[in-house]
């Protein structure tokens, strides 16, 4: 591939294409794989330093209690213990608040360690620093806390009542925000609708559960009075900015690095007290401080997902045309409003996306977020959309059943049609053209939908429970600055910058503020840069996940990195390519417009005259005879990209399930996804993202629940109780891609990393409901654990028996 074309190249596109291979759209093997496959990756827990000490946190065993006293003397006396610290030791650090410009938003105040009182089981109360982790944990057992238990309202509905025990006394209420979205006349339209279906739905709390537990290493730079935090984080840039303020250090003296990170799914996308604590202690002690959470701590203290009660009603006419939708969402946001996303993130997204990809003229969505004595909720893959899609797709199926029409037909009738884009839904979100109906049709045709219905009739006739579930959804991804300012968060997430340089050896380095934690960005961004610059992907080194490498940037979350990072890669590469062409035009004595690049060379189109990138670099940086001074342009470029609005990604998922009438075991028979994410950078990576998202959706639908009792104690605190899907529970997943019309961003990309988790819970819930429809059972609560399914089926059977 390195060979220069021997034949003179004509100016036609085919010849150019052969000199300049396309990498975007190709299943390029991942550049990060060799190190990760050989144990040569470097995750935070792998980092060691001289004189390093280890932290262990004492966590609250109480959901809501006053701390009367903490006795650390015995712990301090243990040999090997460097120190034991409580809230007072961090008094110099400002209180953490996640403000919002949302009207009447009540931001909670959070300290590094709980002072005066605790607000959830697992909240850090004290921290031990010791020679090794074993001793640190020994010391934890010697700390004695005298608690004064306070009343607990663990359930968000009871916590919302006047007179409920207050978590944050200064706020005077547990309701942190309330919002209403309204379009049309939902009350009148609903009252006049010929048909209505409604339900009370619940999406239980779950853990993002990245397989790498959260870990941090804070390394003081004693020479410069600075600090480097290595951490399992998705947001090194956001952390650098907030820690700079909290620790009163200029950004030039604090650096946050996300080395190899073992998954995130939102759980590593917020600021954590442990991050601040290890930084402060590293500065105080002048020693590197390491903390690696164990799995139980991770389950109890990493930001949690979902947890909403959603009452919703859908009105429609005799033909199945949707008329009105009303939803009332109560979000259980936990004890604190998480930084920077605020408590509004998840529940507001539920009402924002409730109307889905459908034409519904009248809509009202009401939402409130209620503080409860549980760990804070935060971003989790899909944010709000898994719950909204679950509710809306259940209602669509209920409406179809009510009218006796097919669920696929019901959807087709109501999906926003090709000529209606851009389409504004009742919550104000605007969908750009995306293959809503095309994905539904593709999914139905690929899975052989009519044949499945025939199978189902045969199964039912034989007394077997077999169900088919569809979920169609749309999501907003790659969000730009105009939309990211809307929630009034304290940060800008709507822009991304790339800096790309060719060094004096001709090697290409491209730097981004994104932070890959499994997304393959070292490969996909290299593919983009390689294609635009005219080199090979393996010739491009991607630097990312290091706040010290960029002036601003936030990280990787919210399906943004392909659209924003990829967009920045394209615009920056083009500026740099033009510089390279200008320099080469001097060297090759040809007009700039005749210069092309490809395979690491710069050549005159239609001739065999060429120079290598290394020769261009040598001429610019090293051989001062090669170019006139004014032509020595530094081979660097840095450009930002802001998509301003967002782009619409859509998919239809179809699941088929078999349920054993004896054991009630649910097995997913087939699972198919048809999706439109615009142009794919790397189809293998896109498939992998869909598969992984679906697997987490299987967990959300059937298994994964952080169950808290009425006193706020976590009942599922280990992987023995908090069960996640293994290869035996996840079915083979078939994925089909559509590219209906490319969105108007530089690469034509749409974000897609979250979609699998958005569609799967709804598709599986609909499939189970469909299988059990002869019993009159419908799923309204996720996950449908074996116990929940048993209750649903038993109640239905008892009811049938009573009626007999």
């Amino acid at each position: 591939m390195n060979d220069l074309p021997r034949k003179p190249l004509g100016p036609d596109a085919d010849a150019l294409a052969s000199a300049r291979p396309k990498y975007v759209g190709k299943a390029v093997q991942r550049l990060e794989d060799p190190r990760l496959l050989t144990g040569a990756g470097r995750y935070t827990a792998d980092i060691r330093a001289d004189r390093m000490v280890h932290a262990a946190f004492l966590r609250s065993e109480q959901a809501h209690a006053r701390i009367k006293s903490i006795d650390c003397e015995a712990a301090r006396g243990l040999p090997g213990v460097t120190g034991v610290y409580t809230a007072a030791d961090f008094a110099g650090i400002p209180v953490i608040k996640a403000p919002s410009r949302m009207r009447d938003y009540r931001a909670t105040s959070c300290t590094v360690l709980a002072s005066e009182k605790v607000r959830y089981v697992g909240e850090p109360v004290a921290v031990v620093i010791a020679r090794d982790r074993y001793i640190a944990e020994d010391a934890l057992a010697l700390i004695e806390v005298d608690w004064e238990p306070l009343d607990v309202a663990a359930d968000p509905e009871s916590a919302a009542y006047d007179g409920a025990p207050l978590l944050h006394d200064e706020l005077g209420t547990n309701i942190l925000f309330e919002r209403v979205f309204e379009t049309g006349e939902p009350d009148d339209a609903m009252a006049q609708a010929p048909h209505r279906v409604s339900g009370r739905f619940r999406m239980h709390r779950k853990s993002p559960l990245a397989i790498e537990p959260r870990s941090y290493v804070a390394e003081p730079d004693r020479a410069n009075d600075g600090l480097t935090l290595y951490g399992s984080t998705q947001i090194p840039g956001i952390l650098r900015d907030i820690l700079s303020g909290l620790l009163d250090l200029p950004g030039s003296r604090i650096r946050v690095v996300a080395p190899d990170v073992g998954g995130g799914f939102g759980g590593k996308g917020s600021l954590y007290p442990e991050e601040i604590a290890v930084c402060a202690l590293a500065r105080r002690l002048g020693r590197t401080v390491k903390w690696v959470s164990d799995r139980s701590e991770d389950l109890a203290s990493t930001s949690q997902g979902f947890d909403e009660i959603i009452e919703a009603e859908l009105g429609f006419d005799d033909d199945g045309a949707l008329i009105a939708l009303k939803g009332r969402v109560t979000g259980d946001i936990g004890a604190y409003s998480i930084y920077p996303w605020t408590a509004a993130l998840e529940p507001v997204q539920v009402v924002s996306f409730l109307p889905g990809p459908y034409r519904i003229p009248h809509y009202r969505g009401e939402v409130k977020g209620v503080a409860t004595p549980k760990p804070p909720t935060g971003p989790y893959r899909g944010v709000g959309r898994p719950a909204s899609v679950f509710v809306t797709e259940r209602l669509i199926d209920m409406a179809a059943a009510h009218l006796g029409i097919d669920p696929a037909g019901m959807r087709r009738k109501n999906l926003v049609a090709e000529d209606e884009f851009p389409y504004r839904i009742g919550s104000g979100i605007v969908w750009d053209r995306s293959g809503f109906a095309e994905c539904l049709d593709e999914a139905c045709s690929r899975i052989g939908y009519e044949g499945l219905r025939k199978l189902q009739r045969e199964a039912r006739a034989a007394g077997r429970w077999y169900g088919i579930g569809i979920a169609t959804y749309a999501e907003l991804t790659g969000i730009g600055s105009r939309i990211s300012v809307a929630p009034g968060m304290p940060i800008n997430t709507g822009t991304e910058t790339a800096s790309i340089r060719v060094d004096s050896t001709g090697a290409v380095t491209a730097t981004f503020a994104v932070a890959s934690h499994g997304q393959s960005l070292e490969t996909t961004l290299a593919q983009i840069v390689a294609e635009e610059l005219g080199v090979r992907p393996e010739d491009v080194r991607i630097v990312q996940g290091d706040s010290g490498a960029t002036s601003h940037g936030t990280g990787t979350y919210a399906s943004r990195s392909a659209v924003l990072g990829g967009g920045a890669a394209i615009v920056t590469s083009r500026v740099l390519r033009d510089k390279i062409k200008r320099v080469a035009s001097h060297l090759l004595e040809a007009a700039v417009e005749d210069i092309e690049t490809g395979n690491g060379r710069v050549f005159v189109a239609g001739t065999d005259k060429s120079v290598t990138f290394a020769e261009v670099a040598h001429a610019v940086y090293s051989d001062m005879r090669a170019l006139p001074a004014e032509a020595r342009e530094n081979l660097e470029a840095s450009e930002s990209y802001d998509p301003v609005t967002g782009t619409t990604t859509t998919a239809t998922h179809i699941a088929t399930v078999r349920i054993d009438p004896e054991t009630l075991a649910v097995s997913i028979d087939r699972y198919l996804v048809a999706e439109d994410c615009g142009r794919m950078i790397n189809p293998l990576v896109v498939d992998g993202q869909v598969h992984g998202g679906v697997a987490q959706g299987v967990g959300a639908a059937l298994l994964e629940e952080l169950s808290y009792d009425e006193t706020g104690q976590l009942l599922t605190g280990s992987l023995a109780d908090y069960t996640v899907p293994t290869a035996a529970e996840v079915p083979p997943i078939e994925v089909f891609h559509l590219e209906t019309e490319l969105p108007g961003n530089p690469g034509g990309f749409r974000g897609m990393g979250e979609g699998g988790t958005i569609g799967a819970p709804a598709a599986i819930a609909n499939a189970i409901s469909d299988a059990l429809s002869p019993l009159g059972v419908g799923v309204t609560e996720l996950p449908v654990t074996p116990e929940r399914l048993f209750r649903l089926v038993s109640e239905a059977r008892n009811k049938t028996d009573t009626e007999k």
């Binding site: 060799p34 496959l37 827990a45 074993y134 397989i211 992998g688 679906v694 290869a727």
Partner: protein, 161 residues
């Protein structure tokens, strides 16, 4: 805690003589004492499989094994497979099929798959899925892992034929 135990063992072909506390986990011993950080710790209670190593040829959870228990044993970790410059067949198949994303669970899967290929018929994908079900991956949804193992199992049969 003051008791120390002398152990002699073979790790990735190298003889190791060390003194450990009775409570030191094999996972911590490999990672912190020997610097073999390719063995990852995902749950410390034997469920996730990220710390899977081979102990006298049989897969074992390093987080549920004490270093003191492996006196006289032979241990292989992910570092014993191929290198960055020369991936072994299992690693190549994982790369080809994009059977890893974040890579944290991957060393455990590789050790499990190595044993599966040595000991199981793996005639059906269902059998592959069952055999993989002691290792948790949160990124891939397992589909590409199954495809990688399918290719390796087919190749093995081809070679045997």
């Amino acid at each position: 805690m003051s008791t120390r135990i002398d152990i002699t063992l073979t790790v990735n072909g190298e003889e190791i003589v060390e003194t450990v506390e009775p409570r030191m986990l094999l996972s911590d011993f490999l990672r912190d004492r020997l610097g073999l950080t390719g063995t990852h710790v995902g749950c410390e209670h034997g469920v996730c499989g990220a710390c899977t190593v081979r102990l006298n040829g049989v897969t074992a959870r390093a987080c549920l094994t004490f270093a003191a228990q492996v006196d006289g044993a032979r241990i292989e970790t992910v570092e014993h497979l191929g290198t960055v410059a020369s991936l072994n067949r299992i690693q190549q198949a994982f790369r080809k099929h994009h059977a890893l994303q974040c890579g944290f669970c991957t060393p455990g899967f590789l050790m499990t798959v190595q044993e599966m290929l040595e000991t199981l018929p793996l005639e059906t994908d269902e059998e592959i899925r069952d055999a993989l079900s002691g290792n948790i991956c949160r990124c891939t949804g397992y589909e590409h892992i199954v495809r990688a193992v399918r290719e390796l199992a087919d190749e093995r049969e081809g070679a045997a034929a």
